[in-house]
């Protein structure tokens, strides 16, 4: 039988929140979810400036936005234009960094001049010499070592990557020196460092077209540089690829900390370091799942809470749900979580690139 599974695409002009069933979103008791802002087309990765500016990226468009909140009145400013897939944004020591598909650029002191941004300083270029279709968009985050980390995805669903691909790579923002940090990562579009162990945790999208239930997408932890997470040989930590896995063993590779469901598409994730939510949430992970397309019964389309215990063992539970309305529908959802961001007041922002909306989740006893 021929498949009818296909990827979904965002509404590129965004959709007004007032036309959407926002009130059907669900969060645990005591929490409250509301629209923080709409009209931010394809709102994807989020980064927080020292002075409270929220920087917003997108994957298919060419702009980077800054949202300024003055006493609850929010304004969207287009600060950078004409960029090539500016999917990654990170803020470090007063400087905004943007990862396009081919390069990373820096904008020093940007929060003081949002209406007149500085010229780009190129940190590193030529990151996409092949210009081929595939997982070419880059997530970007600043590590505790002051370096910028980003993904170089596998060029196709399942293929033998070249030396730079299927990796998390890091670059020194001062010198532009690149290092491969970990390998065997098919594609990651979200990561963060544990506030105490300083270890890198990252979601990983696993291959398509094997089956509805395998392989499961992964939440990984890199305990040291140079680890290999298995792609294209071993998926979900324990499943050899029918072609590339021949004559290999999953024991060669670092297994995931947690399996998080087949095709659920882990996107942005952050450790919760705020003070608004109950104490049990401290240092938990919030992870946005963009939702499955390569699965006949859809799943994901939510934000999950992952609790990591003292031994590093992880378990997850739903946190924000309600976007998925018909698991057999086409489309099955009305929104797709893409990234999360812990605000200074402890509230959690969630971006929805399908609609160009950012939600705010708060807690009151």
């Amino acid at each position: 039988m021929q498949t009818t599974l296909h990827p979904f695409a965002p509404h590129l002009t965004g959709r007004p929140a007032k036309d959407l069933p926002i009130s059907t979103l669900k969060v645990p008791a005591g929490f409250h979810v509301e629209v923080w802002i709409d009209g931010v087309p394809e709102a994807r990765s989020l980064a927080l400036g020292d002075k409270g500016t929220v920087f917003v990226s997108n994957r298919n468009l060419s702009n980077v936005y800054a949202i300024v909140d003055k006493n609850g009145k929010r304004e969207v400013k287009t600060i950078l234009k004409g960029m090539n897939t500016p999917n990654g944004v990170a803020f470090l020591k007063g400087t905004l960094y943007v990862a396009e598909r081919n390069r990373i650029t820096a904008y020093a002191g940007i929060e003081d001049r949002l209406d007149n941004p500085p010229e780009a300083r190129v940190v590193v270029d030529n990151l996409d010499p092949d210009k081929a279709p595939g997982h070419f968009w880059k997530f970007l985050a600043a590590g505790p070592d002051g370096k910028l980390y980003f993904n170089i995805g596998s060029p196709q669903n399942i293929t033998m990557p070249n030396y730079t691909q299927a990796s998390i790579t890091r670059v020194d923002p001062k010198t532009g020196t690149l290092e491969t940090y970990v390998q065997g990562v098919r594609n990651t579009t979200g990561f963060d460092w544990h506030p105490q162990t300083k270890q890198l945790w990252f979601g990983e999208h696993q291959r398509d077209w094997l089956s509805d239930d395998t392989p499961e997408d992964k939440l990984n932890v890199a305990t040291k540089m140079g680890q290999n997470f298995g792609f294209p040989y071993c998926h979900q930590g324990d499943l050899l690829d029918p072609v590339y896995g021949k004559n290999r063993s999953c024991a060669e590779f670092t297994p995931p900390a947690l399996k998080i469901g087949a095709h659920t598409a882990p996107m942005g994730m952050r450790f919760y370091t705020g003070n608004m939510f109950p104490a049990a949430y401290k240092n938990n992970i919030f992870l946005a799942r963009h939702g499955s397309w390569n699965r006949s019964i859809k799943q994901g389309y939510d934000v999950i809470r992952v609790v990591v215990d003292a031994k590093g063992k992880a378990k997850s539970e739903p946190f924000l749900t309600g976007f998925l309305t018909d698991e057999k529908g086409d489309p099955p959802m009305w929104g797709r979580p893409a990234d999360v961001l812990v605000m200074k007041d402890g509230a959690l922002l969630v971006s929805d690139d399908y609609n160009g909306i950012i939600y705010r989740i708060s807690y009151k006893k």
Partner: protein
């Protein structure tokens, strides 16, 4: 609560509900309005034909295309990601509201039966290629399109040929790379056969 008070309250509630329905209808009209789109489309129909039913084999038919597909393509033309000497200048100055209104209009227009008559043996060959490459996975049953993915049934042949060649050469804008990947497996002869088959394909 007395009966009359309850009645008055329910009347107020109904009035409020009616008001909010009106408000909702108004808001949706503000987001995407086909009637506004019809007025804005007066320039478009010079090339794309009345109601978006093109008579020119090189110009795509827009009638009956999924709304999200039309918005997406206009958006990419405006942003300069998809380029065409004729089309790009028209898209350059469109607002988001224009895109949504035009898409609401054209997607609601009836798609005229295809002018192209494809010989049965050619059509059968085209159907085999379409099945082999699983076009229906994205373009939906009967290749009628859905969401951001275009209707192919009854589209203009020369236009389809140009797009498929562009995908194969990696020069046609492609949001997620799916068509670029899919087109790599097509020969030039396949593209010709497919274009003719699709152009002659009516609605089910």
């Amino acid at each position: 609560m007395t009966g009359s008070l309850a009645a008055r309250r329910s009347a107020v509630a109904m009035f409020a509900a009616a008001l909010s329905l009106l408000a909702l209808a108004h808001m949706q009209a503000a987001f995407a309005d086909a009637e506004t789109g019809r007025r804005k489309a007066e320039t478009c129909v010079a090339c794309h034909g009345p109601g978006g039913n093109s008579k020119n084999p090189a110009v795509p038919t827009l009638s009956g295309q999924p709304q999200q597909f039309i918005v997406t393509q206009l958006f990419m033309f405006r942003e300069g990601k998809r380029k065409d000497a004729q089309m790009s200048p028209f898209a350059a100055n469109l607002s988001n509201a224009d895109l949504n209104d035009l898409a609401a209009y054209f997607s609601a227009q009836p798609h005229a039966p295809p002018a192209q008559v494809t010989a049965p043996e050619k059509a059968a060959a085209g159907r085999r290629i379409a099945e082999q490459h699983n076009c229906v996975a994205c373009h939906a049953g009967n290749l009628m399109g859905q969401q951001h993915i275009p209707r192919l049934a009854g589209q203009q042949a020369e236009y389809l040929r140009t797009q498929l060649r562009g995908f194969k050469a990696s020069t046609r804008f492609d949001m997620d790379g799916n068509m670029t990947s899919a087109a790599q497996a097509l020969t030039d002869a396949d593209i010709d056969i497919l274009a003719d088959y699709l152009a002659g394909l009516g609605a089910p």
